[in-house]
C-alpha cells in the first residue's frame, strides 16, 4: 500500500507543505545513497524522490545529467536502485519513496516484473518522465496492481483537456513542471505557477507538487505558498557534485540546504499567505 496518500493528506490536514528532495541513486557512488536518504529525512524531507540513472536523460539539465553519468560509471542499475530502497526501508518504514526516471530501464525489465519488485522493495510511487498518459496504459495497470502510485507531470503547456486526462490516470500527487525547460533551469516565475495551479485545482483534488528551478530557500518558501509540495533536485545534486570524493561532506552540504528550505517553508509568513 502506497504511503503517499496518507502522508500527503496528513500534511494537508495539518496545514503543512511537503518537502520532496531528489537525488540520483548511485551518485557519486552506490554506497553513498542509503545514508543520504536517511540524512534527507532527518533534514526535513516528507517524501523522497530517488532518481534512476539513465544514459540519455532528455528532460534533465546539466547537473542531473552529470549525476546520471557518475552513477552509471559505477554501474548503478535499476535492480541496484530497488535494492537501495529495500535497505532504506530497514530503518525507515514511514517516508514515501518515489522513483523518478525514464521508461527504457523499466520497459526492458518488464512492467509487471518491475512493479512487483518495486513494491517488494518498498517503493510508493513511480514517475517515468518520458511517458505521457497516452502511452501509460500498460505500466499504470501494473503499478496499480502492485499498489504503487503512478505519478505524472503536468506542464505549463498542458491545456485543460490534457490536465483532465493526466489527472484521470494519476494518483498520489501531480508533479507540476514550473517552467518550460529542463531540470535545474533558472526561469522560475512563481506568479505564473500560481495561475496555472488554479487551473489544475479546478480539475482535480490530487495534491500538487511543484518542481524544476527551485534552487534556494526563498524560492522553496514562495512555491510552498501556492503548492502542496515542493520538489527540489538540481540544487541538492549540485552540492553532491561539489563533494564527489567526500560523500560525507556532500551529505552535510545537502542536509544544510534542505534544512534551510524546510525552515523557510515552515516560517509563519510562508504558512499565513
Amino acid at each position: 500500500m502506497s504511503r503517499l496518500g496518507p502522508v500527503l493528506e496528513g500534511l494537508r490536514a495539518a496545514g503543512r507543505k511537503a518537502l520532496i528532495p531528489y537525488v540520483t541513486a548511485g551518485d557519486p557512488e552506490p554506497g553513498a545513497t542509503v545514508p543520504m536518504l536517511h540524512a534527507l529525512v532527518e533534514a526535513g524531507a516528507d517524501v523522497i524522490e530517488l532518481g534512476v540513472p539513465f544514459s540519455d536523460p532528455m528532460a534533465d539539465g546539466p547537473v542531473i545529467q552529470a549525476a546520471c553519468e557518475r552513477a552509471l560509471a559505477h554501474g548503478t542499475r535499476l535492480h541496484d536502485v530497488l535494492d537501495m530502497v529495500r535497505q532504506f526501508r530497514e530503518r525507515d518504514t514511514e517516508t514515501p519513496v518515489v522513483l523518478m526516471g525514464y521508461l527504457n530501464p523499466v520497459e526492458v525489465m518488464g512492467y509487471e516484473r518491475f512493479a512487483r519488485a518495486a513494491a517488494a522493495a518498498g517503493v510508493d510511487g513511480v514517475l517515468t518522465v518520458d511517458m505521457p498518459p497516452e502511452e501509460a496504459h500498460g505500466l499504470v495497470r501494473a503499478l496499480r496492481a502492485a499498489q504503487i502510485d503512478p505519478i505524472f507531470l503536468v506542464a505549463p503547456t498542458s491545456d485543460r483537456q490534457r490536465i483532465e486526462a493526466i489527472a484521470s490516470v494519476a494518483s498520489g500527487f501531480l508533479y507540476y513542471v514550473s517552467l518550460k525547460g529542463v531540470t535545474g533551469a533558472d526561469a522560475l516565475d512563481v506568479d505564473a505557477v500560481a495561475r496555472k495551479l488554479r487551473e489544475v485545482r479546478a480539475v482535480t483534488d490530487l495534491p500538487l507538487g511543484v518542481g524544476f528551478g527551485v534552487s534556494d530557500a526563498a524560492r522553496a518558501a514562495a512555491v510552498a505558498r501556492v503548492a502542496d509540495a515542493v520538489v527540489v533536485g538540481s540544487a541538492l545534486v549540485r552540492r553532491i557534485a561539489e563533494h564527489t570524493t567526500d560523500p560525507q561532506a556532500g551529505r552535510a552540504a545537502v542536509a544544510t540546504l534542505l534544512a534551510q528550505m524546510r525552515r523557510a517553508m515552515d516560517a509563519p509568513e510562508a504558512a499565513a499567505s
Binding site: 540519455d56 526492458v108 511517458m131 498542458s158 490534457r162 518550460k180 525547460g181
Partner: protein
Amino acid sequence: MQSDEPLTAMPDDRGHFGPYGGRFVAETLMEPILELTEAWQRYREDPEFLAELEADLRDYVGRPTPLYHAERWSRELGGAQIYLKREDLNHTGAHKVNNTVGQALLARRMGKRRIIAETGAGQHGVATATVAARMGLECVVYMGAEDIQRQAPNVYRMRLLGAEVVPVTSGSRTLKDALNEAMRDWVTNVDDTFYIIGTVAGPHPYPAMVRDFQAVIGREVREQILARAGRLPDALVACVGGGSNAMGLFYPFLEDRDVHLIGVEAAGLGLETGKHSAPLCAGSPGVLHGNRTYLMEDADGQIIETHSISAGLDYPGVGPEHAWLKDVGRAEYVAVTDEEALEGFHALTRTEGIIPALESSHALAHAQRLAPQMDRDAILVVNLSGRGDKDLNTVARIDGITL
C-alpha cells in the same frame, strides 16, 4: 504474410506501427507535438503547400534525380542489372534536403522563426542550415563534440550558412547526445522554435512526416523504372541508420509484395564484436528519443555506444516503421562491416566514376554480394543516398594519406 489493412495505412493516429513508434516525451513537449501533428495533417493535403514543395524540390534541390543504370558495374558483377537512384546529385549532396525543405516550409506556415536540428556527420545539419539561410530563419545545430572534430568541413559549411553550431559534451558526445540536447532546447523554447528532425525517428509525427517528405525518392524510382524497363524492380537496397533514405525508397513499394526490400545496417567492426550500429540485426526493442523501436542497449536498458566508419549510420536506434517492417517480414535487414563498405566505396568509384558517401557504400556493398546471385535480367535498385566528398578525409586516413 497477410493483413487486412494496407501496409501504407500505418501509423495509427497516435503514431504506432504495431507496437513501435508512439509519442514518448515529457509532458511539456506534448502540446507542441500535437500542434505539429495538426499542421502536418493539414498541409500534407493542401494543394498550395504541395505545389510550393514541388517547385522547391525541382528548382532548388534539383529533382527529379536520375535513375542511372550502372552497366559497367553490373557487367563486372555478372548478375542483376543495378540501377542507382542518384540522391547524391541533390543540392547539398544527399537525400537529407528533401526533408529539410519540407519541414522548413511547414515551419514558416506555423509562424516559427527559429529552427533547431541535431546532426551526426553534419549532412542533416548542412541541409537544415541551407534551408534556414534561404528562408532567413535563425538556425541552431547541435552536434556532438566528437563529431565536430571528425567533420570539420561540414561544421564550417554550417557556420558559413549562418547557423550556430553548438558542441554537445554530455554522454558519448555523438549523434544521440546531440538529439538529447536538441530536445532540451525545444522544451525550453517551445513557443517560437521548430525542431527539424533529420530521420524517420522521434515522437509521432516525425517518423511518418519525414517518410512522407522522403517518399519522393521511391515515387520517382517507380515512375523511372516503369518507363525504362516496363516493370517494377526485383529488389530495392538502401542503407539504414535512422532509416530515412530507405523508408523514402521503400514506402511507395510497400504494397508491391514481389519487390524485395532490403535495409543495410552498419556492422562496424563486425556484429560479433559488439562494435557496430545495427539495432535491427543485433539489438532489442526499447524506448528512446520519443519512440519505441529496436535499440542498441544493455540488459539494464541503458543505451550503449555504437560504432560505424560512417558517422551518418552511427546511431543506436532506428525508425519505428523499419522495426515494424522487420517484425511483419515485409523488409529484410542485413548488416555490412566497415571493411565491406570501403570495398563498395572503391568499387563504385573505379567502375562508374561516382564517389559515394560511406553511408551509401553500405548499400552498395550489399548489392555487390547480392547481384551475382541474381539473373542477368533481374533489376536491383540501390539508393545512392549521398556523395562521398565529405568522406575523403576518412578514406584517405585509412589509406595512410594525409590531405
